[in-house]
């Protein structure tokens, strides 16, 4: 199963303050462990919300608001995508992450095709698999 790990923002991350060399080193070591364990599928840091936008959808209307956005601790500043055997395994991995005091990290289950049950018709499943293969090919990865 896959999980998404959402790292919530802080005043520092929103101010574009770089993590310390020490934290970067510890995070690098942690990421290495995740890769070696075959858990790491993806991971990225996000620039502060001042560099982002939000688009509101309402019927056919689209309204854009520039960042920064106020609710700092609800903002995402980074994420991982992990492959794990169980949700509990993901929780255990997350507890070992070198985050600092006050950090709050959200762990969410990713929808897989099996989760959609009968709504995922054979035609849709085939289309989805074809899309994923196409995307992987374009990205130069094995499907």
């Amino acid at each position: 199963m896959r999980v998404m790990v959402l790292v919530k923002a802080s005043k520092d991350s929103e101010a574009g303050i770089m993590p310390s060399e020490d934290l970067l080193t510890r995070m690098g070591a942690y990421n290495e462990e995740l890769v070696k364990a075959g858990v790491m599928l993806a991971g990225e840091g996000l620039h502060p919300s001042s560099k982002g936008i939000r688009m509101r959808f309402s019927g056919s209307e689209r309204a854009i608001t520039d960042g920064p956005f106020a609710e700092t601790k609800e903002l995402v500043c980074g994420f991982w995508l992990w492959q794990v055997k169980s949700f509990e395994e993901a929780v255990e991995w997350l507890k070992r992450a070198p985050f600092e005091d006050g950090a709050e990290i959200e762990l969410r289950r990713v929808f897989e095709m099996e989760d959609f049950g009968e709504a995922m018709t054979p035609e849709l499943r085939e289309q989805e698999e074809r899309l994923q293969a196409q995307a992987a090919k374009l990205a130069g990865k094995p499907a």
Partner: protein, 140 residues
């Protein structure tokens, strides 16, 4: 440039309401366009926050708090990872997205950090480690 495009949650997504056949078809078609344009690098739907947790860090203490979480419109219900020439291009693509929810909704676009963005602040060793890790997960 890469962007994380986040579909924010609504009462409907948090309630686990399945999408209509119409929306599924429209999203499939949209995703096809993103793939064909070479923009799509990833994307998933997230299960409601009732199926998730938050882990809080305080010294050596770890507190695990079960979902659901209250601030619905700040939660992420789904995401894409895109490669676009500019924020403007990402915005143009988001404008073309079918309504992701039955009612009003919001999509957030955030630029993704590239190690090159840090320039001299990152040592050559750290940059090399970053590149190697990215290659190992086939992400470069």
């Amino acid at each position: 440039m890469r962007f994380m495009v986040m579909v924010k949650a609504t009462k409907d997504s948090e309630a686990g309401a399945p999408p209509t056949r119409e929306l599924v078809d429209a999203m499939m078609a949209y995703n096809e366009e993103l793939v064909k344009a070479g923009i799509m690098k990833g994307g998933d739907g997230l299960q409601p926050s009732s199926k998730g947790v938050r882990v809080q860090f305080d010294g050596a203490r770890r507190a695990v708090v079960d979902g659901p979480f209250a601030e619905t419109k700040e939660l992420v219900a789904g995401y894409w990872l895109w490669e676009c020439a500019s924020l403007d291009e990402a915005i143009a693509w988001v404008k073309r997205c079918p309504n992701p929810m039955p009612g009003p909704s919001e999509i957030e676009i955030r630029p993704v950090v590239d190690i090159a963005d840090f320039g001299e602040m990152v040592s050559p060793e750290a940059a090399a480690t970053w590149d190697r890790l990215k290659n190992e997960v086939g992400q470069s």
